[in-house]
Amino acid sequence: MVQALDHLKETASQTAGPYVHIGLTPNFCGIGGVYDADLGTVMVGEKTLGQRITVSGRVLDGTGTPLKDALVEIWQADAAGLYNSPSEMRGSADPAFLGWGRCPTGAEDGVFRFETIKPGKVPFKDGRPMAPHITFWIVARGINVGLHTRMYFPDEVEANAADPLLLRVEHRDRVATLVATGSAPNYIFDIHLQGEKETVFLDI
């Protein structure tokens, strides 16, 4: 016999279902008066430091049809490359920037849109810089476990070429699925759930 590890198992994920908006963005789906505002809709204030950008895009299924019932969350560093989190040990992030946003895909066009700032570089575990990126998490009806991915910037060619995560992508033509299109200040990031252009999703 040996000692028991005594670990618990993570609660299994279940789909967010078709009515995720009721719980996470009730004002967006017409349930007013419960919360003043939906969480995560405003990321940037007057005092936030950094270059203002927008990130918009769609989440597309295997036929190329945009999902109109998905919900996207993003998490990112501030302009100096610091996360507004107790686990950030390198310094204090911009107090005027939480770095987290939440947006449903539009009921008509399936488009999500974030007004945010361009994040700075943050280090990989071995100290090499990672190229500026935004972490994405996607849930919807039909998605059993929320999907993690990242968006990189098309105007950071050199940094992207040296990015430790992007270097791990075995099939090099798939790197492009993690890089936005468009140009400053308006970037476009379409997420393909499957098919030829399937986005690289992360088990991280």
Binding site: K9, I22, G23, D61, Q76, S87, V139, I143, L193
Partner: protein, 249 residues
């Protein structure tokens, strides 16, 4: 607070997700997954600072009735119709450590199985006093509670005659973005759980049983509301001496 202040900062990466415990992406019995499931392998790597970190939500953002679905949408002096219940429990991580400050958001159908949503087509009646959403934040020891009415089961378009067992959706924010989780809670004794194609996306019976809240008779409030206990487990974080190095060292 002093106890928390004395804790080591949480800078370790998270335990890998057990992908055999969770549902796979492609589960044809749940038809919507067929065109929405990634088919290529996930890119697996140890968490970086971008996933180890996560936002903090303060208790100050909560309204007084945010965790009371019986009243948070009801007209003054009125309340939602249905079986009054309390759902309570703890948010822990895989190492059995409580997760304080976790934001929980929940949503559900009304007592007749009807959601307040324009895409909802079930003929059951709306309850004018029930919105169906709530939220709370766990305390220092990871505890939370909410008050609501027991949701009804409802039919949904998948197979010809598929019904969802009564359930409450939970969204959980732990301390790191990698812990982000959405799940569903079911009720002890409901025979419909085992017939549900969404429940059955999960292959391991123990993982399903972990989603079923037992009736908690001891915490039931006499003449008022029955209690169900639902503990939630988030990914554990590695925390050995060697994990607490400064990033980059």
């Amino acid at each position: 607070m002093s106890d928390r202040a004395n804790r080591k900062p949480e800078t370790g990466a998270f335990f890998p997700r057990d992908r055999n415990w969770h549902a796979p992406a492609l589960t044809p019995g749940y038809k919507t997954s067929v065109l929405r499931s990634p088919q290529k392998a996930l890119l697996s790597l140890d968490g970086t600072i971008s996933e180890i970190t996560g936002p903090v939500f303060g208790h100050s953002m909560l309204g007084e009735r945010d965790n009371d679905l019986i009243h948070n949408f009801a007209k003054p002096g009125e309340s939602a119709i249905g079986e009054r219940i309390i759902v309570h429990g703890r948010v822990l991580d895989e190492r059995r450590r409580p997760v304080p400050g976790a934001l929980l958001e929940f949503w559900q159908a009304n007592a007749g199985g009807r959601y307040r949503h324009k895409k909802e087509s079930y003929l059951a009646a709306l309850d004018p006093n029930f919105g169906g959403c709530g939220r709370t934040i766990t305390d220092e020891d990871g505890f939370y509670s909410l008050r609501t009415i027991k949701p009804g089961p409802y039919p949904w378009p998948n197979g010809v005659n598929d019904w969802r067992p009564a359930h409450i959706h939970f969204s959980i924010f732990g301390h790191g973005f990698a812990q982000r989780l959405i799940t569903q809670m079911y009720f002890e004794g409901d025979p419909m759980i085992w017939k549900c194609p969404i429940v059955n996306t999960i292959a391991d019976r123990r993982a399903i049983e972990q989603l079923i809240a037992p009736l908690d008779w001891a915490n039931t409030i006499p003449m008022d509301a029955r209690a169900y206990k639902f503990d939630i487990v988030l990914r554990g974080r590695r925390s050995t001496l060697f994990e607490n190095r400064m990033e980059g060292n």
